[in-house]
Every structure is written in structure tokens, then in C-alpha cells.
Symmetry: D2
Subunit: 300 residues, 4 copies
């Protein structure tokens, strides 16, 4: 039977012993199924001496059919940024508990991968963001699966900034900054900032002000086909930075502007059959656990 | 020149003297422009003695081209429910400050109506909800422009309920209830309950738990093409009610279920040219006012 | 050795089999230690046929040294209201998981009670509230350990009300109502409404608006020596109710007023040595559990 | 008649023309009343050529009876830190709208100051915080009227930290940081972070986690007689800073600890007779303004 994916790249933090062991187990199993296994040259030594056939990749996307990332949601974010533009499919194996993105546990990984190689899987497109920082010194761009974040660089002072959507002024904000999140990112930093959970199937973004000075400056959900513009206002002693999934893109000075829009690429997540987004939410957010008996306000 | 709208129905609370006066002024002006003016028989006496030609309607939608509602957002909700199924266009005149839905002030209403009659206006579709209460005693349905709300009827106890989306369990909740809101309703009760603002252009709904027992039970944005199901769990001494835009639909008992989905009808709002949703948000939410000098945490 | 407490009253929902079994076990053990055991006449049959000596009380406070409540936080609230005015000490045994108030588990209860009878325990005073509803038809009062709550009675409309502290106007509110909570109640309904957690040692109350119409209408912490006054404003089609720890006190009409102040009595909680409030918070609120690996926004 | 205050120091940002003008007006008026006027040497040129008698101070507290700060709440914070340890009384004149701390407007300042000089005023003690940063390189301390804030220095990663109260572990937190605020600071940054408003009369502090990773990690109000300890956990690529009223105290490394307690000094605010804290709240937070007609969820 033809395999659904033949050339498979493995990604993981090999310094983590549990991850390194899972990488070896996975590589050996894929060898056995007849797959070609590619790895990051920096993790090659994790495979030494085990009789595991593998090749260092030149890039995780050239000729690759599937990337398997072993770790947690952080490793998935890293992997997504590597492969998104090439459109390569991505499967997440969670080293610990279930993740939002890595929804297969290490205990089930062999069985699950076999199912997937045999064609039993679902594919889910997750929208991504493109951030473009236009400055007097040039233009800088990056993509993000979770969020593009504007944040004050200096801890003692708030920043003032303005937002536009498709050229219409939205608001003049004061506070710690702004999170622009995808549905995928809505359960990450944006949730800590007071944003809503957004089902991955909706084609919208959410703008979440961070510790806003004005209490009515609330999260705003807008269509993903809109272009968001952010400018900071001149203010003594403040600096602002922009990050994409936690990676620094650059400083946002009053003479620059930040443009955020849906990226042309998406992350193609592979899920085992029976994947259930709400089950993951319930597990990650400790929902509905003994609602009646153990919560804060009714004991009986 | 042909008028954009020829037969126009007027809606307003005639007990409010300011509204009654505006209704008369509007009716007289529409007479002068050659429009046919229809009114609710109950408000007919507002027009007496002024030489205003008008007819009592049999319904505000039969043969009507445009409904003009004078009052506030509450009057707009009332009007929307009357005319939505027939698809008649709706223009809101705000008796006081700008409303979210009634975005024309009484001071500008004559000028604005003239522009609109002359064809200079924009039309905006707002999605609505259909609630269907399936009980052992029969099925009850209603529509809503803002929200469908499940709420405890008795003040001393919380209710337990479960939610499903397209048949998949979402969560088991404890608390005061649940608001299912459209983008239009996102700036109403849902906002007080901690929900996000949703741009009217997005095709999504938001489910906002009211005073949830579990602190991670946060607002959830889902596509408007989904069907939401709600069931309450049996619990001593509690009762639950369902309302649509504040109108009682019925009780939700453990043997019943509530289904909420996007209605087949929409509200067709008429706006003057230059209508700007964000300007209304800024005004209604006191956004961006002297952010730097007068807010709670930096005085200089 | 003299026992710390000689006459002990037992409280619990005998309809709950687990509770009934624990009541029997506790009564038999107290018999063995030489205590006199008193019970609610309605639960006397839980003790039949077990050779357990016990007497029906005329009241749970006459001649009683200690009340042991077996159940959960709801049973504790019930017990607290019964015994507070007489100042009798109260020990809570939790039938399930740890409660905020009932902080001894059934598995440890015998050992813990022995320690307590031998004098090894701590006593903690928890302040309570007194609510006085002054109406044209008379005055109604009640006490509460958790909270006094004003809430709309009808689900479709919000209520308008005003608050004063020691005679000074605080605010004119619109919304679903107001929670006035003690530190004990701060982890109950008030927490679901957005209030802060207040350490039981502080002598303050918190006023938490429920789903407030104005987004800056935030929880307000005031000294427990203040008197809070609440009046509702006349509004078509709305009614308001006042409850104390979930028990209906009465309706609040525009011609009445609600006065809330610290009660003269307190709840005297008995804790085992080593009682740790923060440990209970961590357990009940799922705090700090694998913060790094399993939360919503960083998986690695 | 003897003046209540004879030697008066003036504080203000003289670069701001409005402030400079008010400083001159105030100084001239105080001259006329027979007060001795002291000023910061750096603002002395604001008084040149006006025939105003004034002396440069060696410090704003030596021999000073009253400090008058003209500006806004930021200027008041600055002044409070200068004078608190000496216990000198402080009066705030607000250059713009009413401030939380500077509650006299420039239009009323002469009349108000006369009343105060004649003995008609109230004095209010506001508690302050003392922060002590204990590091391998030494100990650093500072005081704050509003808040002591721990915050991540690098924008892309959250920090992990633990809190103790009087030596008992409270929680292990993940997020952007922690605000420890006085009642005065509760309406500043802490409010933007989701904390409650605390009446200035209560002797409590509030600990507000900033964008906490765990959604149940909520603001915690504790007695002001408690000592709060904070330590950050080792984490790759993160750094944390501590500020007092926005002034950098230092970095908090995993080998250091931050201790926060009520300072020995207080700020002695002088208010005109009739000062009403709730009136200031209502004004600053746009409370109760046309609750019924103009808010987000009921227009009529």
C-alpha cells in the first residue's frame, strides 16, 4: 500500500532527553515503514549508534511530504514558521500533556503515525499573519501562526498608539501594547490579555489591547481580510517593539508603521481521525471538571 | 427625480414627547417630498391636528419601502424584529446621542432623509439569530438582532447547562446563564458580560457565559453557519428562561433543548453616506478621550 | 485530659448516603471519646440501630460547644447562619474535595477531630454581613457569611440602582445587580462576577456590579465599618430581589432601601493546626499546576 | 490671623507654559498672604522679573510646612516621593481636569489656597509601599505611593515567578509580571490590569498579576501589615525589572528577591473642605453618565 507521506522531516529539541528518545523511536519506526527520514543537522547526534537511517536536511521543506514535530506548542510554532511558506503538512506529537497544536501524545504516537501513513487523517488549514514593519531604515517582514504583538520596551511607562483598519481610524490607545491574534493564537497570549477564544474555523483576527488605560478599550474581532495598521505616538522615554510568535521583528518608532494582514500561506495541520477541538479546549482549560461540587461558589 | 423610497412607515414611542414631535416633523417633511406615510394605529393621535397626511398600517411591512424608527437602539431592536422577515429597509433616527444602530441625530434628520430619498445612502446587512425552543409541549421560535439569552430565573442559585456546536459537546457550564450574540449584539449585553466587540462585517457569533463558575469558561467566537444547542441539567430549585432581544421565548427545562442558529432573514440598515462604525464605537465607549492627560494612571 | 469541646452538634444532609455514613462514623467516635452528641431531629434516623448515643437538639446552639458540619461549602453556609449569633465554634468536614470553608476531608476526619478535642486547633473569626431591607411594609433583616446580592428578577431587562457609602453617593449603576461580599464570599459568586480574592484576615467588603452596563463600573473594596445603602430606580417592567447567602430576603422596590453592614456576629471557624489558606486557594483554583508546560500559551 | 502653613514649597514642570503661569500666580498670591515661598532651583527662572519673592530650596522639605504641586497626578507622584519621608503636607493643583490626587483645579486654586491657609481643610493619610530588592550585589530600596511593579524586560517571553506572604507560599505564576498597589495605586496601572478599586481608607494592598497565564490567577487583596516576597524562576531568555511608581529600582534575577511592605512613611494629602473621593471616581471613570440613554445595551 502506498504511504500517504514518504519523506518525513523530524523536528524537536534534542537537548530534552524525553524528546530525543521520542525522536529516535519515531525515526526507527518510520525506517521500518519504509519512509525516508530527514533531520536538522544539529540534532543528528540524537540518532547516533541506533542503526537509524536518516539524512540531514538542507531545509525542512525541500522534497519533504510531512514534518513531525515532537515537543509542545512552542516546538509547533517553531516548525510552523519553518514550513508554512512551502505548504508542507505538519503533525505535532506532544511530549507532555495534550497541546493546543500538538494533539497526539507520545504514548499513542506510533499507532497514530501508522494510521496517518495509511491515509486515515484529517487536514486542517490554520490562517497565519504577515507583519510588515515599514521604517525609515527599510521594511521588515515576518509571519506568525499565533500572534503579532506590539509591546512597550521600557517597563515604567505606558505607550500611546493608534490603530486603523483598512485605512479607517479605530482608536487612540494608551497601555502596554496590542496583540493581533489568529484563531490559533486566541488561546495563547491573547487569552491572558482578556481576548475571546476563537474557533479555528473562523476567518477572523482579534485585536487585544494589553492592560489598556481606558477600561472600555476592549478586544475587537475583525475579518481576516482586513489590513490593520498601528502607529505609536511620540512620547518621552518610551520605546515599542514588535514580535511575531515571540520573535523580535523590530522597534516601532513614531516615524514607522506596522501593517498586519492575513499571510498568503497557511499552516496545514495533520490530525488523527476523531480530532476534536472542543475536547482539547476542555482539557487545556480545566473546563467542566466537577462543576457542581468543587468550584468556588457552591460546595454541595 | 424618482425617490429611493416612496412608502415609508414611521415607528416610535409616541408617549415620549420628544419622539412624538420628531415623528410629526418627519411625517410632515415626507408629505412634502411626496412620500406616502404609514404609522402604527396606536400612534396615530400624535399626528392629529397638524394637517399631516398619514395612514394607519395593517402591518409595517405590507407595501412599505422603508421604515424610519425614531428613538434609540431599543426602538431599533423593536423595529428590526417587525420588519426583518419581509426584508424592508430600516433607518434609525436617534432621539438623544448617537446610538449603535440609530446613527442619525434628530438635528440632522431632515437633511439626512433628503439625501437618502435622493439615493445617497449605503445599505448594510446585519445577521440575525433564530432561537428554537424544543419542549415536550411544543416548539417555540423567535428571531433576534442582538442576542438570545439563557438566564436563571431564580436569583439565589446558579444553573448548570451544557453546550454543543453542530452536535459536538463544547462544555458543561455552571453560572448565571449564556448569551449568544450577533456582531450587532456584541456591543450590547454581551459586552457587559465580558465578550469582545465584533465588527458587524464578520459572519460569526459569540457565546458569552454569564458570571461563570469556572474562571476559564471564556467567551467563544464561532462561525455563524454553526448550530448551537443548549440543555440545562436537572438541579433542585432552579429555573431557566430564554429571551430573544429581551422578549421572553419560554422556560428551558431539563427535558427541553434550545437551538440557536443564524436566521434566514437579516436586518437591512440604511446609513447616510460616510457612516463610520468605528466613529460610533469611539463615541459610545468614550474611547481615546484625552488618553494621555485624564485617565486613571498618568496625570502628566 | 479535659476535652476542648464536650457537647457537639452534628449537621449534614442525611439524604446524601456518603454524608449519612460519615455522620454515623463521627457520632460513634465522639461517643467513644466521651462527648455528648446532639443532632437535628430530622436526621435522627441516620443514627438508628447503630448503638450510637445521641440526642435531638432543641436548637444547634443551646449548650453546644462545637458544631461539626459534614458536607461541603453549602452545608457550611447553612451551619454558619444557624450558629453565628450564638458564637458557637464550627468545624467543616468536606465530603468531597477540599472546600474553601470545610477544609478537612472525610478520610482524615477522625484523626483531625481527635487532635482538636485534645486542644490542638486554631480558631479563625470570619466577618459576616447584616442586610436590612426597609420597605413601606416593614423591615426585614438577615445575616450572611458570603454575600448579600441584589439581582434583577426579570430576565429580559437590566435594573438601574444607586449606591451610597455612609451617606455619600457612590454611583448610579445599570446592569444585572450588585454583590456585596465578605472576604469569605470573595471566592464565591463575587469571583465569578469579576471581583478580587480578599484574604479572610482583612476587615473589608467588596461591592461587585453584576454585568455592569458601564465598563468602568468596577469592583470596589471598602472598609467593613462602612454602611452601604442601595436603592433601585423606577423602571418599567423590572423587579429586583435581595438574597443573603442565596436565601431570599425580599423585593427591593423603588420605595424601599437596602442597608448592608458588617454583622455584630462572626463565624468562628475551627481549623486543624497547619491550616493554610493559600494552599486551599491553590487547590480550588487549579493554580500553579505545571504552569510552564501545560498552560495556554507556551508549550515547551 | 495665624496662617495654617507659613513656608510653602512649589513644585511643577516649568517647561509646561500653563504650569509655569500657575506657579507664578500662586507664588505672587502666597507672597501677598505673607508666606515664604521656596522653589526648586531648576524652576527659579519661571519667577524672574515678576517681582515675586522666592528662595531656592536646599530640599523641598527642610523647614517647609506645605508643598503645593501644580500639574497632574504624575507631578503628585513625583512630589509625594520627595516629601513623604519628612511627613510634609502636600496639596495638588490640577492643571487640566480633576486628578485622582490633584483635586483642585487651577481656576479655583487661589480661593482654595486661601481657605486652606485660613485653616479650613482636611488632611488625609495615604499609605505607601517600601520595596527592597535583595541581590548578590547588595540591597536596593525605594518607596512608592501607587505601586511596585515586577515586569518582564523582554517582550517575547513570559516570566515565571513565585509569591509568598509572610513566608507562606501563595502561588507560582506565569505571565507578564505583578503589580503590588496601594489603595491610591488601585485606580492607576492596577486597574488597567484588572484589579479592583480600593477606597483610600482601607489598610490593604492588592497584588494584580499582569496578563496571567492561568486564568484563575486573579487579583488578591491582603492586609497592609503583610510582607510580600517575590522571586523569579530561572528561565532561558527572560529578564525581569522592578519599578516603583515607574522609576526603575533594578533587575530581579533568580538569585535575588523582592520584598514589598507598607512603608513607614505616608503621604499627607491636604484637601479642600468638601473633598469627596466618590465624586472624583465618578468624574474620572465616566461613571453614571446618562446610564439609561447612551450606554451600549439599551437605547430607550
Amino acid at each position: 500500500m502506498k504511504l500517504s507521506f514518504e519523506t518525513i522531516a523530524l523536528i524537536g529539541k534534542r537537548q530534552d532527553d524525553t524528546v530525543a528518545q521520542s525522536l529516535r523511536t519515531m525515526a526507527a519506526h518510520l525506517n521500518g515503514r519504509g519512509c525516508r527520514v530527514l533531520t536538522d543537522p544539529s540534532i543528528a547526534d540524537a540518532f547516533e549508534g541506533g542503526g537509524i537511517e536518516h539524512q540531514a536536511w538542507t531545509s525542512p521543506v525541500n522534497g519533504v511530504d510531512l514534518v513531525v514535530a515532537i515537543g509542545g506548542d512552542g516546538t509547533m510554532l517553531y516548525a510552523a514558521r519553518l514550513v508554512a511558506e512551502a505548504g508542507v503538512a505538519l503533525l505535532g506529537i506532544n511530549r507532555g500533556r495534550l497541546g493546543f497544536l500538538a494533539d497526539v501524545g507520545t504514548e499513542d504516537m506510533i499507532e497514530t503515525v501508522d494510521e496517518i501513513l495509511n491515509g486515515r487523517y484529517t487536514k486542517e488549514k490554520r490562517i497565519m499573519l504577515e507583519a510588515r514593519l515599514e521604517t525609515p531604515d527599510g521594511e521588515f517582514t515576518d509571519i506568525a501562526l499565533n500572534d503579532v504583538v506590539l509591546q512597550k520596551r521600557d517597563t515604567g511607562r505606558m505607550i500611546d498608539f493608534q490603530t486603523w483598519i483598512d485605512g479607517s481610524l479605530v482608536n487612540t490607545h494608551g497601555g502596554d501594547g496590542l496583540i493581533v491574534a489568529t484563531p490559533t493564537g486566541s488561546t495563547a497570549y491573547a487569552l491572558s490579555g482578556g481576548g475571546p477564544i476563537m474557533h479555528p474555523g473562523i476567518d477572523s483576527l482579534v485585536m487585544v489591547p494589553i492592560c489598556p488605560h481606558t477600561l472600555s478599550d476592549r478586544p475587537l474581532v475583525v475579518g481576516a481580510d482586513r489590513e490593520i495598521e498601528v502607529r505609536v505616538l511620540e512620547r518621552e522615554d518610551t520605546q515599542s517593539e514588535v514580535t511575531c510568535d515571540g520573535h523580535l521583528l523590530g522597534k516601532l518608532s513614531p516615524s514607522a508603521r506596522l501593517m498586519v494582514r492575513r499571510a498568503d500561506c497557511v499552516t496545514n495541520l495533520i490530525h488523527p481521525v476523531g480530532h476534536d477541538y472542543f475536547r482539547i479546549l476542555r482539557s487545556k482549560l480545566h473546563w467542566g471538571r466537577n462543576t457542581r461540587n468543587t468550584g468556588p461558589w457552591e460546595g454541595d
